[in-house]
């Protein structure tokens, strides 16, 4: 059976709840009236609420860990686990799954190889959205998702840190992933 790009996108978006054999369906909504997207306002409230209850550090660790699982599962669904694709291909796959055509977590413009790993250039990340300029907020779920995805694709253990932020004068939210 030939599976359309749209079907792959829907599979990525809806995960196991979307049946590939129903690829002809135009949309599968998890909610009948509201559709499948919710506001960044609620996402931010979830993060700030966790920070309030657990402390910033524990909330950050939890959000990164959740993101890593999401990234790993996403890559497995894409069939790219351990495939070590070229970085252009990895960028395209992640952009499609996480960007405008996917779940809209962020836009990934570029992934570069560095001496010790990778550098990922992200825009419009959900983690930085709505924050005032100069805010000290760092990427959490987004960082984890990018890290988990690259770790699974490349079969490497990486440690991610944010090295540039759109909130602090950068053009991108830049994630550096170093081998550990």
């Amino acid at each position: 059976m030939k599976v359309s790009k749209r079907a792959i996108r829907l599979k990525l978006y809806y995960g196991e709840s979307f049946n590939m054999t129903n690829a002809t369906l135009t949309e599968t909504q998890l909610r009948s009236e509201l559709g499948d997207f919710n506001s960044i306002i609620c996402f931010r409230a979830l993060i700030t609420g966790l920070e309030e209850a657990l402390g910033e550090k524990a909330a950050l660790i939890s959000a990164i860990a959740a993101g890593r699982i999401r990234g790993k599962n996403l890559v497995a669904e894409l069939g790219l686990a351990g495939q070590k694709p070229a970085l252009e291909e990895a960028t395209a796959a992640m952009s499609q799954a996480l960007g405008k055509e996917g779940t809209r977590l962020c836009i990934i413009d570029k992934i570069e190889a560095t001496d010790s790993g990778y550098r990922v250039y992200c825009r419009e990340t959900v983690c930085s959205a709505g924050e005032p300029q100069g805010s000290s907020r760092t990427l959490s779920f987004t960082l984890g998702a990018v890290q988990g995805a690259l770790e699974t694709m490349m079969g490497q253990r990486l440690r991610g840190t944010q090295v540039e932020s759109v909130l602090r004068g950068g053009q991108y939210d830049v994630i550096e992933l170093n081998l550990r």
């Binding site: 657990l54 402390g55 550090k57 660790i61 939890s62 990164i64 860990a65 890593r68 440690r159 550990r180």
Partner: protein
């Protein structure tokens, strides 16, 4: 760069040194595993994230409830102990010990390995 082979060697010696110690892991403060010697069936990455979150939650409790700085987090279960210790800015240690472990000996062994790890990370 941290020598993961050396970390692994230290952990293996630590776990092998006392029969009541069932496993151990060295984890970054943001919840990534650096080295581990865990019982079969435990997910290294999940253990790492849980350990870092638990220790930072302990620190939060220490601060919010005016308990001062936290030396360790100890979880006592029916089957044994899970102990979390800070090893400086870059790592923390998780130790899993059997219920029969003598607390004094266990604490001494942990103190010894933490001192060794602090030398590496500092």
């Amino acid at each position: 760069m941290i020598n993961s082979e050396k970390l692994g060697h230290i952990l293996q010696n630590f776990v092998a040194g006392l029969s009541e110690i069932q496993g151990a892991a060295i984890v970054t403060p943001d919840g990534l595993s650096l080295s581990s010697a865990l019982p079969p069936g435990m997910d290294e990455e999940r253990v790492a994230a849980m350990s870092a979150a638990m220790l930072s939650l302990g620190e939060r409790i220490g601060s919010e409830l005016s308990r001062g700085s936290i030396e360790r987090v100890l979880i006592e279960g029916e089957q044994g102990y899970s102990i979390l210790m800070d090893c400086g800015q870059d790592a923390l240690l998780l130790v899993l010990a059997h219920k029969s472990a003598k607390q004094g000996i266990l604490q001494l062994e942990i103190k010894r390995i933490v001192a060794e790890l602090k030398l590496i990370f500092n």
